[in-house]
């Protein structure tokens, strides 16, 4: 869907007009260079397919062992939530909660919210509760750090490999797949289109011809 809109750059507040964009094109702020809009080039069903795949990969990543360790007849393995749990057992409660949030809750929340949002966005107008989810997605995205977790696991493996035999587990494959899928969802998801179709807070759907600066409401 092509449309034009007026926006203020989130980084420098410059008012500017974004023309209809061809698929795969981007618009950047004329003054500070911030990316203002992009038009995904893939099919509109692609984000949904990617999100379903990511959900399956994430379940594998969170439940199956990431790595197995063998040393003189002893055996140990861990999962992503298992890492956070061990920190809890060792008395680092705050760090444990932080790891659980960044490595498990935020990515899972992101995929789950995205899944529900994409299903809801197939309707027009998009229900208002879906807009709430879209707002939350932005916050979850900041704290979802799977790629950093992956690098951390690799560094830990390298350190431990000095002392013991370490083998990657099945969970690692699910983990790797999720890390590739989440950025793919982000690039193919058209959040501008969802915002255009969303039902407004007061339940009204503005006409497409409505001015960019609508009449403001007072306090709720």
């Amino acid at each position: 869907m092509k449309f034009s809109e007026s926006v203020a750059c989130p980084d420098c507040d410059l008012l500017q007009h974004i023309p209809p964009l061809d698929p795969g094109r981007k618009a950047a702020c004329a003054r500070c260079g911030r990316l203002l809009a992009k038009q995904p080039s893939g099919s509109r069903d692609l984000p949904l397919a990617l999100t379903v795949t990511a959900a399956i990969a994430l379940i594998i990543a969170d439940t199956l062992p990431l790595m197995d360790l063998h040393v003189v007849g002893r055996f140990a393995s861990t999962t992503i939530p298992g890492g956070a749990y061990e920190m809890w057992l060792q008395g680092q409660l705050l760090v444990s909660v932080l790891v659980l949030f960044c490595a498990v809750i935020a990515p899972a929340g992101y995929v789950l919210f995205m899944l529900v949002l994409l299903l809801a966005a197939r309707r027009t107008p998009v229900p208002h509760w879906a807009a709430e989810m879209l707002r939350w997605l932005g916050h979850l995205q900041v704290w979802s750090m799977l790629e950093v977790v992956m690098l951390g696991v690799l560094v830990a493996l390298t350190k431990i490999a000095q002392l013991a035999t370490v083998d990657p587990g099945i969970g690692m494959y699910g983990f790797g797949a999720t890390i590739l899928l989440i950025p793919a969802i982000m690039t193919n998801f058209d959040r501008r289109e969802v915002w255009q179709k969303v039902a407004w807070g007061d339940g009204e759907m503005p006409s497409r011809a409505a001015p960019a600066a609508p009449v403001a409401r007072g306090r709720k």
Binding site: A8, C12, L69, W195, G201, P214
Partner: protein, 214 residues
Amino acid sequence: MTAPAITAAQAGLVSCESCHLVSRPAGAEEPGFCPRCGEELEFRRRGSIEATWALASAAAICYIPANLLPVLNTITPQGSDADTIMGGVIFLYTSGSWPLALMVLIASVMIPLGKLVSIAYLLITVQSGSVKSSRERTRLYRIVVFIGRWSMLDVFVDTFTVALVQLQPLMSVQPGLGVLFFAAVVVLTMLAAESFDARLIWDSANPYEPAHGK
């Protein structure tokens, strides 16, 4: 660009931070709520400079114990051995994986320090009303936001080392207090970057009228 450069605030409009809809505020003092998504509207984030200073200062204080206290304690029958962050970097370097050592050094020592210096620089230039190199300063802000998450690297390395190496009585690894302070540094600098309002960088060049303070 043909139209004169004018900011939303100069035009008396307010842009929603959540859905980016530009709308007419309910009033100069209280812009009200976004008609589309219901987010509370603000011309500029309220108390942005004070909040950012507070969070960055707290992070700078935590940075000292984060680097001095051990992050990992290795316990073997021969005794125990405490490792700080720099100790972990040196261990990786001497055990032959210098690329990983460099990566941990950058993520755990240089990025947090660089972020603190950058945030302080952005705050000072905004407060002194600088109009120079605004584009570069905005780019610096975006780098700070983008790169912040990678500092969590050491927290995850420590977590998974602790989770795996529990081979009592042979060898076990326990987290030290340093990891708590280090995690605090990362979270506080990320929150500081989030609370800073990049639009303030441009306001000295494009002052706007509304009674609503910065």
